[in-house]
């Protein structure tokens, strides 16, 4: 119980640090702390596999990607942040808006606590003994949810292709061989990809 309050305080503190930090690198550090604390919270909720995934994918992969982009962009000639931040102008309305939404959610949570949360429908609860273990997760992932798992591969493939098309290097393609006369007579069937995305 005390551990939860300590963890939640640290989670909110690192979140606030993330969105108020003056430089993106500090934000990344705050987000790293946030993700690690969240992984511990997942462990308290019996989500072992997700805790590991949280550390490996978020802290390991996504934040490193952020760091690389920050390093790439900061090495330019211009200063990274130009002009004052928008927070003084729009920070108060944003805070009020967020507070209203927060109140709505907290109200519904408190009401659910008073009235009583709905019980799980019949046939949904299960696996109470081994719930949350990696084996349980793996069996559920590869038997009942195999199709969503495969669709995940498609999503990642689309992301990879999109990133390569977007941020692929700007240098001109290597010179092609001189076209033969018979090639020039034909209409090109497939347009070069570079022309489509420009």
């Amino acid at each position: 119980m005390i551990a939860f309050w300590l963890l939640s305080f640290a989670l909110i503190a690192t979140g606030v640090f993330t969105i108020t930090a003056s430089k993106p690198v500090y934000s990344v550090v705050g987000l790293l702390g946030n993700f690690v604390i969240l992984a511990i919270l997942y462990l308290t909720l019996n989500a072992e596999f997700l805790a590991v995934i949280q550390l490996v994918v978020y802290s390991g992969a996504i934040l490193i990607l952020f760091l690389f982009v920050i390093a790439l962009l900061s090495s330019g000639v211009k200063p990274f942040d130009i002009g004052p931040d928008r927070a003084p102008r729009i920070g108060v309305p944003a805070f009020v808006l967020a507070l209203i939404g927060l109140c709505v959610i907290v109200f519904s949570v408190v009401r659910a606590a008073v009235v009583g949360a709905p019980n799980a429908p019949e046939g949904i609860t299960g696996q109470a003994d081994a719930f949350g273990s990696v084996g349980d997760f793996g069996v559920a992932l590869f038997t009942k949810n195999l199709l969503p798992f495969e669709v995940t591969a498609l999503v990642l493939m689309v992301a990879v292709i999109g990133v390569v098309l977007l941020a692929g290097d700007e240098k001109p393609a290597p010179p092609r061989r001189k076209p033969h006369a018979r090639d020039l007579e034909r209409e090109p069937i497939v347009k070069p990809v570079e022309k489509l995305i420009r």
């Binding site: 969105i19 990607l65 962009l73 949570v109 949350g132 941020a167």
Partner: protein, 104 residues
């Protein structure tokens, strides 16, 4: 439910707080990288809610869903950062207010 575990409502409230921290970050910050990080905060808040409900109902469908959210977040971060890089290469700015090329 074990004694040392906080009630599930506190987890959901924590998730709500974290989500709206992300909302404030998206609205109030101008740096696109920090905006993307705030979006990651919101993804994680949603994941925390999903994992909490999975625990509440002792059903790991919430874990599966959170797993899918993680992959979507990875794809989103990759594409968002690629867009930031392309925009920076094109105009040498790092400011979401200045990105008005698509304005009609």
């Amino acid at each position: 439910m074990t004694q040392w575990l906080a009630p599930m409502e506190s987890y959901i409230a924590l998730s709500a707080v974290m989500f709206f921290l992300g909302v404030v970050g998206v609205i109030a910050r101008r740096n696109p990288l920090i905006v993307l990080m705030s979006i990651e905060l919101m993804f994680n808040a949603a994941n925390l809610a999903l994992v909490t409900f999975a625990k509440l109902w002792a059903n790991n469908a919430g874990h599966i869903f959170a797993f899918l959210v993680v992959t979507v977040a990875a794809a989103e971060a990759a594409i968002g950062l690629a867009i930031v890089v392309v925009a920076f290469r094109r105009a040498q700015y790092v400011d979401v207010d200045e990105a008005s090329v698509l304005k009609g």
